[in-house]
């Protein structure tokens, strides 16, 4: 079996999540493979973004969230260990809308490493350049690194956001509908970028756009009402789905 050759980097077992009384995730089991792109698809409110945010514990910011079950990343249950800072340096995140800080492009990318204690100017310069190159935005911004990042176009900002995440040298990058606020050309650039990035990173991406999932992901998980209905190779999900609901969704019958 090909499956067994792959290394699991994130292992989710029987994950339940409650917002106060309301349960949002029901017994999610998912094994995400290293250096692959895993897409999470499903209609609005199905829990895919909520699930993504459990992987770097961003749900901790919301009052009244309760989680049971386990998520093992790199042999460590992330909800048993209390080092959220370490987890988030290992698991980076790119958000739905570009959320660069009101600082220069350089300072945005150098922010994470600086806060980790890297003070050496040369080292920082190197990290910034490498990260921007990896995010395929270096050529566009290299002459204006010291200008405000908020002057860039939305697509450029989103790629700088990716560079900012890369600068922390994470193993995993979570993306929460990273192209939903962008035009088609910017979207295409980011999709190309994601395809190239999987050589070095494990990527988990939430997307509304099924064509996008089909184009860029290796595996796809279909979420519905807080449950994983089907999880398989992307090709299988889109050509021969096992579950009737998956078929209805990917063929556009609902959602």
């Amino acid at each position: 079996m090909e499956q067994s050759k792959e290394a699991t980097i994130i292992n989710v077992r029987d994950l339940n999540l409650f917002y106060g009384e309301k349960q949002a995730l029901f017994g999610v089991d998912l094994a995400i493979q290293e250096k692959e792109v895993t897409a999470l698809i499903g209609p609005s409110g199905c829990g895919k973004s909520t699930f993504l945010r459990t992987l770097n514990r961003m749900n901790d910011l919301i009052d009244g969230v309760k989680i049971t079950g386990e998520i093992v990343i790199d042999h460590e249950d992330i909800y048993k260990s209390n080092d959220v800072i370490k987890l988030r340096t290992k698991v980076g995140m790119v958000f739905q809308k570009p959320n660069l800080f009101p600082m220069s492009i350089y300072d945005n990318v150098a922010y994470g490493p600086k806060m980790q204690g890297i003070k050496n100017k040369k080292e920082l310069n190197l990290i910034v350049e490498e990260s921007l190159r990896s995010a395929a935005i270096w050529d566009e911004v290299k002459d204006r690194l010291k200008t405000s990042a908020l002057g860039l176009s939305g697509g450029q900002q989103q790629r700088v956001c990716i560079a900012r995440a890369i600068a922390m040298k994470p193993d995993i990058i979570l993306m929460d509908e990273p192209t939903s606020a962008l035009d088609p050309i910017s979207t295409l650039k980011i999709e190309e970028l994601i395809t190239n990035m999987k050589e070095d990173y494990t990527i988990v991406i939430v997307t509304h756009n099924m064509q996008q999932a089909a184009r860029i992901s290796d595996k796809t998980a279909f979420f519905l009402n807080g449950e994983v209905v089907e999880y398989d190779d992307t090709d299988n999900i889109f050509s021969t789905p096992q579950d009737q609901r998956t078929e209805d969704y990917v063929t556009g019958r609902f959602g």
Binding site: N56, M58, L61, D63, I85, K86, L87, R88, T89, K90, G92, M93, F95, K97, N99, L100, F101, P102, M103, Y111, G112, M115, Q116, C161, R164, A165, M168
Partner: protein, 304 residues
């Protein structure tokens, strides 16, 4: 398609509308008059203070330089120098800023970023209530608590002193600073917080490196507004300042800031003495004007 209107109906509608237009015009005028009222009042006050205050320098041959830099204020001997008071006002304001700004800012950060909603709901109204307490009560509090405390702790002959003024003013500026700064911090988009935390930065790191810089112009506004409150405060200051006419050289010196000078003497002053008190008002007014100018500069910068 439409219901045909007779001539009579049209006239009626026209009449009704005429009344509406009239009412519209009248109310517009009324609002304009109300709006002008504050401008007129402002101009009247400025005109009056300047007319009275400038008189000794324009018509009676007193030197303005001597007035500002003179260190003797003895109205009975025709000596009018307000330098000690200017220094007292500036020291008291700066001192109050040094104590009030960090406490106010940390309170605002705590309320906006760290405190649970329940705790914030207790502390926030308390801080706002602090703003509603009449200033004379702050003075009484200072006189009854802070002054004796200073007397006993530092073995002073008289507890009414610069440091007492600073402490009272620091407390009085807190609500202004806390409320305005808290609003500014709360206005920072949640996405900045998430962006920083998702990079593995601690909450405190996020607050000081991302959130406070993003709220900078609002926080500066808070500080300038607090400063305005401190420099103009009169009633509370009279009670705890001691009102001695010396250039303060230590925190425990008894002082007389500009505001208290006017309030203490205006009741019995006449002639040149009275005009000199108005001149003191001009100096105070200039301070406030400069502050407002700075404030406008800051907020316009924040807009960009």
């Amino acid at each position: 398609m439409s219901i045909p209107t007779t001539n009579k109906q049209t006239v009626e509608i026209g009449k009704a509308n005429k009344r509406k237009y009239m009412l519209e015009k009248v109310s517009q005028r009324l609002f304009l008059i109300c709006a002008l009222l504050s401008v007129i009042t402002l101009l009247l006050i400025i005109g009056f203070v300047f007319y009275k205050g400038a008189h000794p320098f324009v018509a009676e041959g007193y030197s303005f330089i001597d007035f500002i830099f003179g260190s003797d204020w003895v109205p009975s001997e025709d000596k009018f120098g307000i330098f000690p008071m200017i220094v007292a006002s500036i020291f008291a304001t700066i001192g109050a800023l040094i104590i009030g700004v960090p406490i106010g800012l940390f309170t605002a950060i705590f309320l906006a970023e760290i405190a649970s909603e329940r705790l914030a709901k207790i502390i926030s109204p308390a801080v706002q209530l602090l703003a509603g307490i009449p200033s004379v009560l702050y003075g009484v509090f200072g006189l009854a608590i802070i002054v004796p405390f200073l007397q006993n702790t530092f073995g002073l002959v008289k507890g009414q002193s610069l440091i007492a003024v600073i402490l009272v003013l620091a407390i009085m500026m807190l609500p202004t600073i806390v409320t305005v700064a808290e609003t500014a911090i709360r206005a920072v988009p949640q996405t900045y917080r998430e962006g920083s935390l998702a990079l593995g930065v601690s909450q405190i790191g996020t607050i000081f490196k991302v959130i406070v810089p993003a709220a900078k112009s609002g926080i500066m506004t808070a500080i300038v507004l607090g400063l305005g409150r401190a420099i103009g405060e009169t009633m509370a200051v009279i009670l705890v300042a001691g009102n001695s006419l010396i250039v303060p050289t230590s925190l425990t010196d008894s002082v007389r800031p500009l505001t208290t000078n006017i309030a203490l003497e205006m009741g019995y002053a006449f002639g040149t003495h009275q005009e000199m008190l108005f001149a003191t008002g001009i100096v105070l007014f200039s301070f406030i004007l400069i502050l407002n100018f700075v404030l406008a500069k800051i907020s316009s910068k924040g807009g960009n």
